[in-house]
């Protein structure tokens, strides 16, 4: 993964060398950051896409293949907005047309005396511009009496008692004479004739607004019309004499013509156009803009030391005060570690008035705190469980067990640096890996800890308290700092978009809540499973939780009185309380809440609120730029600029 390795690289450079990195190196670092940050978005998009495909259990093989192929050919198309043509429309056809075989086969059933008996059918949907390049094929099953068949495109509303191409806003390639008709009753000599057994394809290029046909996999060359194609054209076929039968292939089967090869050429063209976009003399400006973006991104998420190292290397300024960054970093870490109560306290202490002015945020935080109490991670319940020997098993991530020093330390870092998945959402393989590792560690060190784990824990994650940490005291400040940064990275890598979607999960969370994963994932660790009890299994803690629940209920009622009913709050509260209804909250319908990933949204919201209160942007400019680019590409699709298909943001995030 580029992010950690680049970060380390940047750090190393900042620490070891005094020279300013060359422009190239700097560019590489920036690219690294950009890449890492925005690849999260991609991941999200993929998750979203994946869910679309599930559902219907009676998924025929052909439909599955069709979906796969369409997805591959037209990744930029949002089918919820602009569905792709998948069959002929039984509604949008002339009466002389008969449809069969899932509306893919078209046959002529009129008299076929003359051209007045011509009949056409359109596909169910127009071709979305976001396709960039669209293609479909038609196989001539039978040429019938005279083979007066036309294959092409037409707009909604064009007379269906005609062959495609004869009328305005329609285009067609005709089998009897091989002519191409472009909105005119007289055709232009275009290609060979076609007949029974031939496969005719029609390709629409929405980038340069041209269209060409293919015969048996051979491109017949561009149509003479240029920049003439109307938007929202439908695949269309027209027949005119009895016995004519054609079958459409909208992607149900592999195409005879290698359309993907053609697309790859255009993709390469557009990419090189983007790569060669002239920036002229603004090179310097661009560089400083990029540096600021990276720097502000780092600052936003509280990667304090990295941000400092970066600003030293690139000679950029950081607006925010360093302590402020560190404060935010500390609060974020608390939230991500599940110690929401402490986070609330810290926020109230450092940013008085903030939560008072944001009752919704406070409520969210409190709800989370309740969930964490159930989880046994919040400090209000943890203080009860320190004496329980089992708690050691529950918190294998506490610092004396945490592989931050010694042999495993290197391993941890190298994993962070090499594995492309570690900061990019959790993948199953990664999960298993960290599992086994931590299960091993936890069982090996079940001896009672001498120091209160809560203290240890807090210190390990807080730069402020390094002095009291015996382990860290021995190491020099810089090393500790850098390790901290790397670890911090694992913790607070979560990024939210305006839509407040959670951007990723990190394996560090698993480390903390390793017990959960192992029982759900592979059931290796029986002991950790049994150790997972409500509020860590402590009676006093449970009581405290119940009391806290009442307070929360009261707060909800108070808010309700003050600001009126809030459905979101109600739901949140309900969900949180529901956890208590199950004997094993981790393994229940609402158990999802206990997942440490859920902390990221609230963490991000709190961070944004703090920044806003300091008159700083609540979103890092990098994410704004990325969001804007993504929006722009979507807008391009809406205004029918076909090149959007090959200029997708995720094409540039590696």
């Amino acid at each position: 993964m580029a992010l950690p390795s680049c970060q380390q690289c940047a750090l190393r450079r900042a620490l070891c060398s005094t020279t300013v990195p060359t422009r190239h190196c700097r560019a590489a670092v920036i690219r690294g950051y950009l890449t890492a940050a925005v690849s999260l978005l991609t991941k999200m998009a993929e998750l979203g896409a994946g869910s679309l495909l599930t559902g219907d259990p009676a998924f025929s093989y052909q439909e599955h293949e069709l979906n796969e192929r369409l997805k591959r050919l037209y990744p930029a198309v949002n089918e919820e907005e602009t569905p792709l043509p998948r069959s002929w429309s039984p509604k949008d056809k002339y009466s002389y047309i008969g449809l069969s075989q899932n509306n893919l086969r078209v046959h002529y059933k009129g008299h076929g005396k003359n051209h007045k008996d011509a009949a056409s059918v359109r596909a169910t949907h127009p071709i979305p511009a976001a396709c960039g390049i669209y293609y479909f094929e038609v196989k001539i099953v039978s040429k019938g009496r005279d083979g007066y068949m036309g294959i092409g495109l037409s707009a909604q509303g064009v007379n269906m008692n005609r062959l495609p191409g004869w009328d305005k806003h329609s285009y067609g390639y005709h089998g009897d004479d091989g002519h191409s008709f472009c909105s005119s009753g007289t055709g232009q000599p275009y290609g060979p004739t076609f007949t029974t057994g031939d496969v005719i394809g029609c390709c629409v290029n929405l980038i340069n607004n041209t269209c060409f046909y293919t015969k048996n996999g051979h491109s017949l060359g561009n149509n003479l019309m240029k920049n003439d194609l109307r938007p929202n054209l439908y695949p269309t076929v027209g027949l005119q004499t009895p016995g004519e039968i054609v079958d459409a292939n909208f992607g149900q089967q592999p195409f005879v013509f290698d359309i993907e090869d053609y697309m790859s050429e255009w993709r390469a063209k557009i990419h090189s156009m983007i790569a060669r976009f002239p920036i002229g003399e603004r090179l310097g400006d661009w560089q400083s803009v990029l540096q600021n973006m990276v720097s502000s991104y780092l600052v936003h998420h509280g990667y304090c030391a990295t941000a400092m190292a970066f600003s030293r290397a690139t000679e950029t300024m950081i607006q925010e005060d360093q302590t402020s960054i560190k404060n935010r970093q500390r609060i974020q870490k608390l939230v991500l570690a599940g110690r929401v109560g402490e986070a609330i306290d810290a926020t109230q202490q450092l940013y008085p008035g903030l939560l008072e002015h944001n009752p919704n945020l406070l409520f969210m935080l409190k709800c989370r705190q309740f969930v964490e109490m159930v989880n046994g991670t919040d400090s209000e319940v943890r203080c009860f469980s320190v004496h329980s020997p089992k708690s050691q098993d529950s918190y294998p991530g506490s610092p004396n067990l945490s592989p931050r020093h010694g042999a495993t330390n290197a391993h941890l870092h190298s994993t962070g640096a090499d594995s492309p998945t570690c900061s990019n959402g959790v993948t199953p393989t990664n999960k298993n890996k960290s599992h086994n590792k931590y299960t091993g560690v936890s069982s090996a060190s079940s001896s009672p800890s001498s120091s209160p784990s809560s203290v240890n824990y807090s210190e390990s994650n807080s730069t402020d308290s390094t002095k009291s940490q015996p382990h860290s005291a021995t190491s020099n400040q810089e090393t500790s700092d850098s390790e901290m940064e790397i670890e911090a990275e694992h913790y607070s890598n979560g990024v939210t978009e305006s839509s407040a979607r959670i951007m990723n999960g990190t394996y560090k969370h698993q480390e903390i809540l390793q017990a959960d994963d192992s029982s759900v994932g592979n059931g290796v660790a029986d002991d950790s499973c049994s150790s997972r009890q409500l509020c860590g299994g402590n009676q006093a803690a449970t009581e405290r939780m119940i009391q806290f629940g009442r307070e929360l209920q009261a707060l909800s009622e108070q808010l309700c009185r003050q600001y009126g009913k809030n459905a979101t709050h109600k739901k949140m509260l309900q969900d949180a309380f529901s956890l208590l209804a199950y004997s094993d909250p981790w393994n229940c319908p609402v158990g999802q809440q206990l997942d440490p990933m859920q902390r990221e949204a609230i963490c991000s919201a709190l961070n944004s609120a703090i920044l806003e209160s300091q008159n700083l942007p609540k979103q890092p400019p990098l994410m704004l730029a990325l969001g804007q680019a993504t929006e722009c590409v979507q807008l391009m699709a809406r205004v029918r600029s076909g090149s959007c298909s090959f200029a997708r943001v995720d094409n540039f995030l590696h």
Binding site: G191, P192, K215, G217, H218, S219, L220, G221, N222, D258, D261, Y262, S264, E265, R267, A268
Partner: protein, 687 residues
């Protein structure tokens, strides 16, 4: 540049110019002085100083052609080579020497010439025997630069037979050795002998894995190697189809390299490889990798978006690919409007380029000839079989005019290609009747025939053969332009192809011709030449000559007239051929001539009075080959035909000679034609 400090003006120049001249001279002189310093340091007794000197020289020559030329003039090369070859030199010094030499080679062609003259190639090849990779790479880099220059004789790579195997063994040493060695091979494989040498040293097995190298350059050079190895080489091509690269067939690897997002050079070269393999018969023409991949790829190379060089190569390769296969010609003819796309090849230099910039004009001019000849070649290939395609070609804008002007272009390559194109189109009866006549293509064609190299003559005369076909409206004007003398002179050529075409054209001309034309042909050719042609070692020439005789000996008055003046010689020639060792076709043709003679009024007697000839006819009537039997029977049938003077005597004589028995036997023949013919002949007796 002379070093005696005195400029020698060769022309009277104006004062201003002279000043410039002097100015540059002084600069040069300064440069020469510093250059001398570099060379002097190569002779320093302290090896450390020498090394530093070479390193400084390296830095001084980079990108400086003047400096390079100076150092060469000052004799740096032999010294560098000496240092490079000395085993006492440190490896570092030897490497630096190779690097400097490589840099010098990067200069002008003159630099390369000087380096080659100093025997740099054997010295560097010797250097490859060293074990140090860095040094080897430096030597290879320099060798590469020298060998890819057009001024270096490629033969130098093959003089020492140990070189190629050694290069093969070095191939896999590093990314650079791979790149340089494959590049050397790709440039130095120019003849079938070179191909064989490389093939015998396992070039294919050694280079194939490089096709999936992570380095773009290595892949590209490896691909080029295969294209030059496979060109017109069946052995290589047949081996290539069975090669697997990482479990994948080589042809599939090439197909992947033709994908549209790959660099154009790679697509084009991969298409060449597959084309050569296909032409060598290693891949069928109906294989998908040819029909759906190679052919469309080559058509794309002809598009306006490609560079002029790429369009030339694309068109030439495509022409070569589909030359023998009508199906490929048909597919290509409708792919991406190829026929009209090619019309654009004739629009260089365009009127726009002339106005916009000189550089562009220069570039266009340079490629204009190449473009035109490539287009003509491709048209020729496209139209070689299919009538519809020929029609499409001739209907392309100004096509016939372009051919006509192409026929008289100064460039031989264009003239040859134009006449090839014309020849291909001349196979169309319809075009001969229409566009060929409308555009009077015979005129430039005749002009071309007056004075042209043999290869052009072969094509032009072959085209003329078609233009002289009986139904061609151009036949008359061509006859009037004194073509007979020209064709007769062609029959005396040393080239069998020209002799065939000459006699073939005469044969076509004599078909159903006027008496006057026939007499003129016989007169111009002369019986002596005619009989010389009848003993031509080339069967084709013999066949066409017999064909000419047969055409001359048609319609009774002509037969009698010619036989009366040349009867004796003709009968002699016929006897000779029938007695000689000839193919069935030749003998059949000869018997047909005899049958024609037998059709004459007076000419008949030449056979009737020649018992030996009659015995021969009898022999062929009983031959095991039906065609010969048929022709001989035809001859007899003509001799005994009723309603002609003296038919009774001839019938009697032949009956006495036992022909009737033979005819009777032949009426029972299994071949229906022969049977009919015999029956018809027998009826003459019955009547």
């Amino acid at each position: 540049m002379r070093n005696d400090g005195r400029p020698i003006p060769t022309l009277e120049v104006s004062a201003a110019q002279q000043q410039i001249h002097l100015h540059t001279f002084f600069i040069l002189q300064e440069v020469t002085a510093t250059s001398r310093h570099y060379v002097d340091r190569l002779f320093d007794p302290d090896p450390q100083n020498v090394l530093q000197g070479v390193i400084d020289m390296k830095n001084a020559v980079i990108g400086n052609n003047k400096q390079k030329a100076n150092l060469i003039v000052l004799g740096a090369v032999p010294r560098l080579l000496y240092l490079l070859q000395q085993s006492s030199s440190s490896l570092e010094l030897r490497t630096e020497c190779a690097v400097v030499l490589g840099s010098l080679a990067m200069g002008t062609e003159n630099n390369i010439k000087s380096l080659v003259d100093c025997h740099i190639i054997p010295a560097l090849l010797q250097g490859l025997l060293c074990s140090d990779l860095i040094f080897i790479e430096a030597c290879l880099r320099c060798l590469r630069t020298v060998f890819i220059s057009p001024v270096t004789p490629v033969q130098l790579l093959y003089t020492d037979p140990t070189v190629i195997p050694h290069l093969m063994s070095l191939l896999s040493r590093s990314r650079h050795t791979k790149e340089y060695i494959t590049q050397i091979f790709a440039h130095c494989c120019k003849t079938p002998e070179h191909q064989t040498v490389l093939f015998n040293h396992s070039a294919i097995q050694n280079i194939a894995p490089l096709l999936i190298s992570p380095s773009d350059k290595v892949r590209m050079q490896a691909l080029k190697c295969f294209s030059v190895l496979a060109y017109e080489n069946t052995q290589v091509s047949m081996t290539l189809v069975n090669v697997l690269v990482d479990g994948e067939q080589l042809s599939q690897v090439f197909v992947r390299m033709m994908q549209r997002d790959k660099p154009i050079e790679m697509q084009l070269t991969a298409a060449k490889c597959l084309t050569y393999m296909c032409r060598a018969g290693a891949i069928r023409t109906d294989d998908n990798c040819i029909i759906l991949k190679t052919l469309p790829c080559l058509v794309r190379m002809c598009s306006k978006e490609r560079l002029l060089e790429e369009r030339v190569e694309g068109a030439e390769t495509l022409a070569y690919l589909m030359e023998p296969d009508v199906e490929l010609q048909r597919i290509a003819s409708f792919t991406d409007h190829l026929v009209s796309m090619l019309a654009d090849y004739f629009k260089y230099p365009s009127s726009v380029s002339a106005i916009t910039d000189i550089k562009r004009l220069d570039h266009d001019l340079k490629h204009a000839h190449e473009l035109r000849q490539a287009a003509f070649k491709l048209y020729a290939s496209l139209g070689s079989n299919d009538e519809d395609i020929r029609k499409k070609i001739t209907e392309t804008e100004n096509m016939m005019d372009r051919i006509v002007s192409g026929l008289s272009e100064s460039s031989i390559k264009v003239r040859l290609a134009a006449v090839r194109c014309l020849h291909s189109l001349s196979r169309s009866v319809q075009q001969l009747r229409t566009s060929f006549h409308d555009h009077a293509v015979w005129k430039p064609l005749m002009k071309l025939l007056q004075n042209a190299p043999d290869e052009v003559l072969v094509m032009a005369s072959s085209t003329l053969c078609n233009l002289l076909l009986e139904f061609s409206p151009s036949k008359e004007p061509i006859l009037d332009s004194g073509v007979i003398e020209l064709l007769c002179s062609l029959t005396q050529s040393d080239s069998p192809a020209l002799r065939v075409n000459g006699i073939w054209a005469l044969m076509n001309m004599a078909f159903q011709a006027d008496q006057k034309v026939k007499v003129e042909i016989v007169r111009a050719l002369g019986t002596e030449q005619l009989f010389r042609l009848l003993s031509d070692p080339d069967t084709n020439v013999l066949m066409k000559t017999l064909g000419l005789l047969r055409n001359l000996l048609s319609t009774r008055p002509h037969i009698d007239q010619i036989m009366s003046s040349h009867g004796k010689q003709i009968m002699q020639a016929v006897t000779l051929i029938l007695e000689g060792e000839h193919s069935i076709e030749v003998k059949e043709q000869t018997l047909c001539i005899l049958a024609n003679i037998a059709d004459g009024n007076t000419a008949k007697e030449l056979i009737m009075t020649n018992d030996d000839m009659l015995q021969k006819i009898k022999y062929y009537m009983g031959h095991s080959n039906v065609k010969l039997q048929l022709a001989a029977t035809f001859c007899i049938s003509n001799l005994i035909w009723n309603e002609e003077d003296g038919s009774q005597e001839r019938q009697d004589k032949l009956k006495d000679m036992g022909f009737v028995d033979i005819l009777h036997k032949l009426t029972q023949a299994s071949d229906p034609n022969l049977c009919d013919r015999a029956k018809t002949a027998m009826q003459q007796y019955l009547a």
